[in-house]
């Protein structure tokens, strides 16, 4: 999906310039933060100032800020930094910009609009852990993003940061798989733990590019500034990609804790029947949840959901949801690395069963198969792909239960609008 870029700055917001007391530009006030800077180095430095010297205290700042990963797992960033910093030998830092979730455009947007902030974050993470080798990973087939990174590196006089292009495969964005790819392998998930044995066998930190961008801001403006936006349990800002039944889809930077309905209004979404929160690796919630749900851990947790990679997809009353479920179920099956039995065969069978539900059959077998198999595949793989498929389908079956009953009775009146894309992964070599 080629991204439509929406950076939402609050109307009338003023960026105060330095009065001379503190050197350099002042910290961003409110929003935007990540999307406040400019792609060129001069513009970036004029907006945010240079990255200050970084030491091990940045790990403490990351902890105080409560920064969590923006790749989907929301793991506390300081714990990853500490884990790698605590290992012996040369360490490696990887910026994961692969963004394998088909509907997500936030990482590409960030690399186009704020490449220097991402690179600052990568440098800051490397310096706080005293790692030497730094690598940025993006998927092939994104020439504008690649050009943006290369241009930014040239402006920084190319201080040794490497760029790795990855194949279009969801599982290759998983940490151990990405390490495997960089090491020359096919990019299948492994059971090795990157913080112990990663790139070149060295302790390796992998962070999503947005996480690193936040780190680049925290290194400048500190953890208390970071917490000025957001909520106590979900501090800071985040990038979200809104799509599906929307007139104005795209990427927005939001304060965590923002009401979902405000985001849907900005994206000019149709009235939602169901909402996918967190992308294909996330969960479906009923459309009425938009009335009271806010985008923070506590509120999302009440629906069993999490922000994940930040994708919010809207299904309205005019679109066949079961067709979307079947399409993504097939995508999941095609995305398997084919290493683990329960995933290889289980996801294939789940896709077939979901397609059978879509095709319409009065026999309840297909739906009971889906319930049985989603439970059966959870936790059974070397990576969390089967868990993602299970959560997506289980929650979808619950939210769209009425429509499923219609399919079983043989009369879904809604067309397949192809709201959820399912690009075929690149073949394994």
């Amino acid at each position: 999906m080629s991204p439509t870029l929406i950076s939402q700055a609050r109307p009338g917001q003023v960026q105060p310039r330095s009065t001379g007391q503190s050197p350099g530009p002042a910290a961003p006030d409110g929003l935007p933060r990540l999307l406040a800077t400019r792609p060129d180095l001069a513009g970036h430095l004029a907006t945010l100032g240079p990255l200050p010297p970084v030491g091990p205290e940045l790990m403490v700042w990351a902890a105080r800020a409560g920064l969590t990963g923006r790749g989907g797992a929301a793991f506390p960033t300081h714990r990853k930094l500490e884990a790698v910093a605590g290992r012996r030998g040369p360490r490696v830092t990887v910026a994961n910009g692969t963004e394998g979730e088909p509907m997500s455009a936030k990482d590409k947007t960030l690399l186009l609009q704020a490449p220097h902030l991402v690179l600052d974050g990568l440098d800051a993470a490397a310096r706080t852990m005293r790692a030497g080798r730094r690598i940025v990973c993006i998927e092939k087939g994104n020439p504008a993003v690649y050009a943006s990174i290369r241009q930014a590196l040239a402006e920084r006089r190319d201080d040794g940061i490497e760029v790795a292009l990855t194949p279009r495969r969801y599982v290759t964005g998983q940490e151990a798989a990405l390490v495997d790819l960089i090491n020359g392998g096919p990019g299948r998930p492994t059971l090795k733990r990157p913080f112990e044995k990663g790139v070149g066998g060295r302790p390796t930190l992998l962070d999503n590019v947005e996480t690193l961008a936040h780190l680049g801001l925290i290194a400048r403006f500190g953890p208390d500034w970071y917490r000025r936006v957001g909520t106590t349990d979900s501090p800071g800002s985040a990038l979200v990609t809104v799509g599906g039944a929307t007139a104005r889809p795209g990427v927005m930077e939001i304060a965590l804790g923002t009401p979902l309905h405000r985001i849907l209004e900005m994206a000019q979404a149709s009235r939602p029947r169901g909402l996918l929160i967190g992308g294909y690796f996330g969960r479906w919630i009923p459309g009425r949840a938009a009335a009271d749900l806010t985008l923070d851990t506590a509120s999302l947790g009440r629906y069993g959901a999490g922000l994940g990679c930040g994708v919010i997809a809207v299904i309205d009353d005019d679109s066949c949801a079961v067709a979307e479920l079947a399409r993504v179920a097939a995508w999941y099956a095609a995305s398997s690395a084919g290493q683990c039995g329960a995933c290889t065969w289980g996801l294939r069978d789940l896709a077939a069963a979901t397609t059978a539900v879509q095709a319409g059959s009065p026999d309840r077998g297909a739906t009971s198969d889906i319930h049985r198999w989603t439970a059966m595949v959870k936790g059974r793989g070397a990576c969390r792909l089967p868990d993602g498929a299970a959560a997506f389908l289980e929650s979808g079956m619950a939210v769209f239960s009425e429509e499923i009953a219609e399919h079983q009775a043989g009369h879904c009146r809604r067309p397949d609008r192809h709201l959820l894309p399912a690009p075929a992964p690149e073949a394994w070599r």
Partner: protein
């Protein structure tokens, strides 16, 4: 206090199913013939069967791991890295 628990390598596993025959109390085959392994610690007579299951796996996909008890006396299995 520690115990020993079975740990399966799902990548190495080829679904032979010998383990489930040797230790049906703790291993069951799923709908595709692959083992689902009970993660709880094994003791007593079952431990001997567990060791045989480990030894007889043609893919060397099973092992017995030491599992530490948590403060409340329950056992936790070390998690694999994040996805």
């Amino acid at each position: 206090m520690t115990g020993r628990a079975l740990k399966l390598d799902p990548i190495a596993c080829d679904g032979h199913g010998i383990c489930a025959e040797l230790l049906p109390e703790r291993i069951a085959l799923d709908d595709w013939g692959y083992p689902a392994v009970d993660p709880r610690p094994i003791s007593g007579d079952l431990l001997l069967d567990a060791k045989r299951a480990v030894a007889f796996c043609p893919a060397l996909a099973l092992r017995l791991e030491k599992v530490a008890a948590s403060l409340d006396g329950r056992f936790g299995v070390r998690r694999r890295g994040s996805a």
